[in-house]
């Protein structure tokens, strides 16, 4: 019965789409039906002698996002996305809920100024406004894992490294003639916390960017990303927060017959001011950063090489760039109770690619907690405070070429020691390779092999016993055995062991305490299954995932979960 409703709905959308093809109204859509059946392995120590916790879970839902676009002319467009969501087991259509997922207005004023209002994606540079990837993500991971991660990215509006926020954006480009070719201007303002009219003031994130193209040889720019409470929006002011980041950047270009050369850099400062009015405590601080590098690109081959050096001060605070995408302390939603309901399951790499509960969508003004096993070198992205060092990056090919390979190595250290003078040193190396075998053997059908690696090392004072290592490996196979019918499989392996001292910060980002951190964990994801591609934007996949976690320090944290996952995804 429910399927019949859905088919009617899709048919209605298709017919309407055809009818309105020439009208100012057009539709886009994204639909998804998911079912997962999960169960603990009976030998999991986490549920040993457990008589109260759930050992199995069957979940499923159908979701359809209908994008309605009204574009009466080239200078104006309204977009809204309506979401119909139905949990399987809900009472057919009455068990569904309907909500607005997105509302946008975009247009151009006087053919000069573009504007956007509503739910928009915002981003500037890595030091001002940037949503860094989860460190467990790899572009070389298996297709089945990519399907799961794409769902998380879609649900959390993680479009590359942008933040999805609600506000207004203005932009324009001015062309000059004599000394300057063009000037591009962008400004935006969003509200990240609404006032409760009592003691929480409105908090705005605002900023802008200017890009001055002097010639094909030189581009300079400036960025501002600020967050500020708005005084007067509450009766009783309890806190006042303000943080402004101002940066400048440059690009110097030169091209020979064979290579393109570029020198680039960015430098700037943050100005932090947090006043807890009710407690009469105010902290003001300022600190800076700079990054300078060089890049080499072959003009005719997909090869590029980059090297840069950066210093980020210990008190450089840029919430727009330092806020983390994942709550490392988030409790997983799937089969999370164990030990007779007394304990919650540890978050694993599997949860980080499948569980909405651990994803963060808002800008945090205090440096968020992070788990050192996943990323100790750059937990807050390139803007991680108290880091300096060298980055080397090399890349060859692209995802459609016979060979695609990339490697990135960061050799970093702390600018100042934490808690004592000795400084930590970090090595972070990531990379991988994809071989599109079908291009090699000149076969039309897909046949790709990939492997990826992420290695991280933290070294520090031996008296403080700082020595932490982690390794993540990916392997993937995609093989189109029948036309549009793929076998997809892969492995993700993660291990971390060692010891470190974790800093605990107060609301002012000050390090006030420490805790000893020890780890000896291993996590695996094995996946295999099939995918049928109806078109480039529509597929069905059926996969089995087996994920396990073992903890040599706390054996009761060990578990194995087996999950059957079926997904039907369509876009138009």
């Amino acid at each position: 019965m429910f399927t019949k409703y859905i088919l009617r709905f899709v048919l209605f959308c298709s017919l309407t789409y055809t009818a309105l093809a020439q009208s100012p109204v057009y539709f886009t859509g994204y639909g998804r039906a998911l079912i997962d059946d999960s169960r603990f392995s009976s030998s999991s120590p986490f549920i040993e002698n457990d008589t109260t916790s759930a050992k199995k879970a069957l979940r499923g839902n159908f979701m359809f996002d209908l994008g309605i676009n009204v574009k009466p002319n080239d200078n104006f467009r309204v977009n809204t996305i309506l979401r119909v969501n139905n949990q399987f087991g809900g009472f057919f259509s009455t068990g569904s809920d309907l909500q607005f997922r997105q509302v946008q207005i975009e247009g151009v004023l006087a053919k000069k100024v573009s504007y956007g209002i509503g739910d928009l994606d915002f981003g500037l540079t890595k030091y001002t406004l940037y949503n860094s990837f989860d460190p467990t993500y790899s572009p070389f991971e298996a297709e089945a894992i990519k399907i799961r991660r794409d769902i998380m990215h879609y649900e959390n509006f993680n479009t590359e490294n942008k933040w999805r926020l609600q506000g207004v954006r203005l932009g324009t480009e001015l062309t000059a003639q004599k000394y300057i070719q063009s000037v591009r201007l962008l400004g935006f303002a969003t509200r990240i916390i609404p006032s409760n009219f009592m003691n929480t003031p409105d908090r705005l994130l605002y900023g802008g960017n200017i890009q001055v193209v002097q010639s094909k040889y030189l581009t300079v720019g400036g960025n501002i990303a600020g967050i500020s409470d708005i005084q007067g929006t509450v009766i009783d002011t309890v806190v006042f927060y303000q943080n402004n980041v101002v940066t400048g950047e440059y690009k110097l270009n030169y091209a020979s017959k064979t290579y393109r050369y570029q020198l680039f850099g960015e430098l700037g400062r943050s100005f932090y001011n947090f006043n807890k009015v009710d407690q009469q405590v105010q902290v003001k601080t300022t600190d800076g950063f700079f990054e300078a590098g060089a890049q080499l690109k072959h003009r005719y081959h997909p090869f590029q090489l980059m090297a840069s050096y950066r210093v980020v001060g210990p008190e450089f605070y840029s919430p727009g760039a330092q806020t983390r995408r994942i709550y490392d302390d988030g409790t997983p939603g799937l089969l999370n109770d164990g030990v007779n309901g007394v304990d919650s399951r540890n978050q694993t790499i599997y949860d980080r690619m499948t569980d909405l509960n651990v994803y963060n969508r808002s800008i945090a003004t205090t440096l968020m907690y992070f788990n050192p096993i996943y990323n100790n070198a750059t937990p807050y992205g390139a803007a991680t405070p108290n880091r300096k060092g060298l980055t080397l990056d090399v890349m060859y090919g692209n995802k459609d070429s016979l060979l695609y390979a990339s490697a990135n190595v960061q050799v970093l250290s702390e600018v100042l020691g934490v808690g004592f003078p000795s400084k930590r040193q970090f090595i972070l190396a990531t990379g991988g390779i994809t071989i599109n075998v079908n291009k090699w053997i000149q076969r039309e059908r897909l046949f790709a092999l990939s492997t990826g690696v992420r290695y991280e090392q933290t070294k520090g004072s031996s008296s403080a016993d700082i020595n932490l290592n982690s390794l993540m490996l990916d392997a993937s196979l995609t093989y189109e055995c029948l036309r549009n019918f793929d076998v997809i499989g892969g492995i993700k392996y993660f291990t971390a062991s060692g010891s470190d001292i974790v800093s605990l910060r107060n609301d002012f980002n000050q390090i006030v305490d420490y805790s000893r951190f020890n780890a000896d964990v291993r996590q695996n994801i094995w996946t295999g299954g099939v995918r049928y591609r109806f078109s480039k934007q529509m597929f069905f996949s059926a996969n089995v995932f087996v994920t396990s976690n073992s903890d040599a320090l706390v054996s009761s944290n060990g578990f194995t979960i087996q999950q059957y996952f079926f997904s039907y995804v369509m876009k138009f």
């Binding site: 002097q214 400048g248 008190e315 100042l416 808690g419 016993d465």
Partner: protein, 339 residues
């Protein structure tokens, strides 16, 4: 080229503007023990083998050979309540290693339970453990209920408080009993109020508490801004459509007879239980709202004759079923209850 030179000069000025760091490190001193570190005599002791934190000072004693960052972790063997005490010093004594009976978790330490204390020091691979008995716990104010008995009726005499329940319509209450809950903040059981609003009246049922008929609740203050109602409440997530209402009945004319007709003051406070897990709610009596039409309109906590905890629907359009667990209702004076 001239423009490029200007740019580099500007960049250089900005670069030179970078902060100069005068300190050797950031953050609080870590206090790492060296290889020569020792705890003198390997001695780590509580101030007494049986401690009373209600009216005495409880502390730990030890002496170190260095100024180090130390941590004492307490864990109740029965309650699993935990508390961490930290500091940086070359010794432990009553100036820096005091325990006031509080817990870091929502779970409370229990009277007469054995508590294990473990001392660790940054950079020191060993640890020392001691244990003691909590003879008398922290002062949480007037305790109205503990709900530790399996038979709810045997709980009637807890803390000299009378206990009863009622439902607003027949058969709407499904459960009103004590129930085992692994995460119950106090002990291992909590009180369950569960029902179904069959007649769409919002109201389902309640747990009522009364002091001895001849007395009022021994709140300890007549100033409503000084009096706090504390209560642990467990919710069932955002999909829950329930709320818990705390209501108080005052005996304005002091005739020792509770009036239910609205002729005397009745106040209430609503808690929306749309969250998952246990939470401690603390409500100042001055924030309660007047419900009855009669009465003298003065909040008089010392004249409270009856306290009710009832469940109701938040909205008629949602689920009709409400399931709430409550534990350890108390009344404190001068500030919220600290677990």
């Amino acid at each position: 080229m001239k423009n490029i030179m200007y740019f580099f000069f500007a960049a250089l000025i900005l670069f030179l503007n970078c902060k100069q760091y005068n300190q050797e490190f950031i953050g609080a001193p870590l206090g790492i023990a060296t290889d020569n570190f020792e705890v003198v005599g390997n001695s780590f002791q509580p101030s007494a083998p049986s401690v009373n934190v209600f009216n005495q000072t409880m502390y730990f004693q030890s002496t170190f050979t260095e100024n180090v960052s130390w941590t004492i972790k307490l864990k109740g063997r029965t309650s699993s309540a935990v508390k961490t005490i930290k500091g940086t010093s070359p010794f432990l004594d009553m100036t820096n290693a005091i325990w006031d009976g509080s817990a870091d978790s929502l779970r409370l330490f229990l009277q007469n339970e054995t508590i294990d204390a473990t001392l660790t020091v940054f950079g020191w691979s060993s640890s020392l453990t001691t244990s003691f008995t909590l003879a008398q716990g922290r002062n949480h104010g007037l305790v109205l209920g503990r709900f530790e008995s399996i038979n709810k009726f045997s709980s009637i005499s807890f803390q000299d408080t009378y206990f009863w329940f009622s439902q607003f319509e027949a058969n709407e209450m499904v459960f009103n009993d004590t129930i085992f809950d692994a995460f119950a903040p106090q002990g291992r059981r909590a009180y369950r109020i569960n029902g179904n609003d069959a007649n769409n009246s919002f109201y389902i049922g309640k747990l009522g508490l009364s002091p001895d008929p001849a007395n009022y609740f021994a709140v300890g203050s007549s100033v409503p801004t000084d009096v706090y109602f504390n209560l642990f409440v467990k919710g069932e997530g955002v999909a829950s459509n329930g709320k818990l209402v705390i209501e108080t009945f005052e005996d304005d004319n002091q005739n020792n007879i509770q009036d239910y007709t609205g002729a005397e003051d009745k106040y209430s406070y609503e808690i929306l239980v749309n969250y998952d897990g246990w939470k401690l709610h603390t409500i100042r009596y001055s924030n309660f709202s007047k419900v009855s039409s009669g009465g003298n309109n003065n909040k008089e906590p010392h004249l409270i004759k009856n306290i009710g905890y009832f469940i109701a629907l938040n909205s008629l359009s949602g689920s009709k079923n409400v399931n709430v667990l409550i534990d350890y209702p108390t009344i404190s004076v001068g500030g919220p209850m600290v677990p």
